[in-house]
Symmetry: C2
Subunit: 405 residues, 2 copies
């Protein structure tokens, strides 16, 4: 008898039949003798429909009010799922963020969970009920409704699992686990049985969209065993867990790709203390999310600073930099879109030399020009022309023999 937190995303609850399917899975887990808490997202398309309403009313909607509107998506799903479970002779009770209660800060649209009161959920479990909790939403100290940002339901599930000291947190989605790379890009992609939190973090942040990155951080911090499973099959899925000795034998675990990036190069910046701050502070103020940052060694007292931004932020980044030209004192600005970011990730890399050089050789052999290189302890990232994306991913997948277990 274990305590399990299950989470089902928007596709898994996309219509009433799918909600009935989720209900069957919850009831089956309960019948197998487990205590079950289930977290659900809004029905697919619903959050976008609601955001469209707020955006039609205002070009920059007040985020407190936007959260009031969009949080209804999950509220509808919990009520419907509780009903579907009851129809299948299960006991169920729905819980909203303010009912659990999931206390967050007041950063509307992107709130962070501060604490979870598990009292009501424990009472519900004790009464034999399946607790059906609305993902994505919380409440701040003032009683305002907050939301956790896109994919926030994953974080709700992991945070609940941590608060309840659950034996496992199962994230059900429309894929059956975490793959060595995107199977749509590379037919030889292989499903991983296990992956470390650290690797998952790198893969998530680099564009593998299976899990919200903050949920993985949360799971790592509280050591919550995290399963990625398909809600449409009985495949055991992938376990995201603490690194162990066997994992270190695997040099590279996966290859991540993020498209639609743009590279900004700020040329001939005076190489003085504080200059990086003068570049990135106005970008942050303007809400531009900067990803990879690279600074080249200085030459004649000046240096080049390159960074990437998402496609949607290109114009804003250009505008901010142009305005700040005098304050920063750079010579010229280059903005180039159509950039992809390809990364190899693996905890084993720490103990194995030569991963980087092998990556560069593979790309060189395929004629792929590397625009920027950036590395961390467990990943190597190269910016390349977007048109080489698939070629790069497939060649690297072959070269590191990721199709083999």
């Amino acid at each position: 008898m274990a305590l399990i937190v299950q989470k089902y995303g928007g596709t898994s609850v996309g219509d009433l039949d799918r909600i009935r399917n989720v209900a069957r899975r919850c009831v089956a887990a309960r019948k197998a003798g487990h205590d079950v808490v289930v977290v659900v997202s809004a029905m697919s398309g619903e959050t976008n429909r609601l955001l469209k309403l707020t955006n039609e009313l205002s070009s920059k909607p007040n985020q407190r009010e936007q959260d009031v509107v969009v949080s209804t998506g999950e509220q509808v799903t919990v009520g419907l799922l509780a009903l579907a479970i009851q129809e299948q002779k299960g006991k169920a009770r729905s819980f909203l963020g303010h009912q659990v209660r999931i206390l967050t800060d007041s950063a509307f649209a992107n709130a962070r969970i501060k604490s979870i009161d598990d009292k009501k959920l424990r009472e519900s479990l004790k009464a034999g009920e399946i607790g059906v909790v609305a993902g994505f939403q919380g409440i701040d100290e003032e009683g305002n409704i907050t939301t956790l940002g896109r994919g926030g339901s994953d974080t709700t599930a992991v945070a609940l699992a941590a608060a309840l000291k659950a034996d496992a947190c199962e994230i059900y989605t429309d894929v059956d686990g975490v793959y060595t790379t995107d199977p749509n890009l590379c037919a030889r992609a292989r499903k991983l049985d296990r992956i470390s939190y650290e690797e998952m973090l790198e893969l998530a942040s680099l564009g593998a969209k299976v899990l919200q990155i903050r949920s993985v951080e949360f799971a790592m911090k509280y050591k919550v065993p995290l399963w990625v499973k398909s809600s449409f099959s009985n495949d055991p899925g992938t376990l995201v867990c603490e690194e162990d000795a066997s994992m270190e034998n695997v040099v590279v675990s996966g290859i991540a790709l993020a498209r639609d990036e743009a590279r900004v190069v700020v040329r001939a910046v005076p190489d003085k203390p504080g200059v990086a701050a003068r570049i990135f502070a106005p970008l942050a103020d303007a809400g531009v999310v900067v990803d990879v940052i690279v600074q080249t060694p200085s030459h004649d007292g000046a240096t080049d600073v390159a960074f990437t931004v998402g496609k949607l932020d290109i114009d804003k980044a250009r505008e901010v930099m142009s305005k700040a030209k005098k304050a920063i004192g750079f010579k010229s600005l280059e903005v180039e879109s159509g950039i992809a970011k390809v990364s190899v990730v693996g905890v084993g890399m720490r103990n194995h030399a030569g991963v980087a050089s092998k990556m560069f050789q593979v790309l060189a052999k395929e004629g792929v020009n590397i625009r920027v290189i950036s590395t961390s302890e467990i990943k190597i990232t190269c910016l390349i022309d977007e048109k080489y994306s698939e070629l790069a991913v497939r060649s690297l997948h072959d070269a590191f023999e990721l199709e083999k277990a």
Copy 2:
């Protein structure tokens, strides 16, 4: 400078343009120097859409969970209206039932308001904000979401007006006031400038669907001046208020019609104490809403009991009565659908004889057979064949000269 509670129904907030229109009205009232609290319903069609989802999942959905689902309709509207007001440079803040907080009993789907905490709303008004409150919803002692039943937003508005000791409660709808009768039935129907709470109660309960009956009771109890106005015009509307001397000069204020009733006659019931209870207790247990009840004088130790039920409850009423036949000991049962209920209403009737006989004469002259008569201090009700509905209403309207102010 007054404190005004405004309420807009589903049609008035049916799309984004209409929500903008409501925002303009709220902002205008604020600019005129008033403190404004606005209560809104779900966008028209939304509550039915949500109920359809719950009813597709379950033939008898758990009402706690159904309330979780349907209460989202109003939640969406308050967020959107707050945004629309902000777009028009007004200050606004949305409030849900649990935020105000509107405490109710735990009768899900049909909860009653127990108390309202006006602290947060007062703070909001003090900060110059328009308080945008979700109608129809509350929260019980346990923190469960409850709803107040169809038309419950009217009650929310009146209850808030009472709690805030507002100077007026304005109910905006798609008609511009209360009429002497339904203008769709009778072209000579006249809009009333004023009407007493008592008359409005009779008119509402008899089928004039302008206001939810419970909201009128609430207004009467707390002496809240209640305006019925159109959200699409600037007509002053109708004031529902305490009876005053001038009102008593008007013998008949209006004529109400309710269609789609069925008449049930229980024949030859033994005329003994407790027999009415034996008839109506099982009906109440089965959830059948009984309207007019008439018992004829007994004859040979037996009496006939007649009552009306709504069209949708006919089968249930027949079933319940048949099952209870032995316990009640009646001889036969007659069920007849296609019945309409026409009533003349007026506080002046108390001091004027002859209203009843005039009503009967008018109907007789038109050849309308009266099936059952029932009277109260300020109304006379006749059940007639549904096919005579319009004829009866128009003849009575003419006979009592209601077209004249």
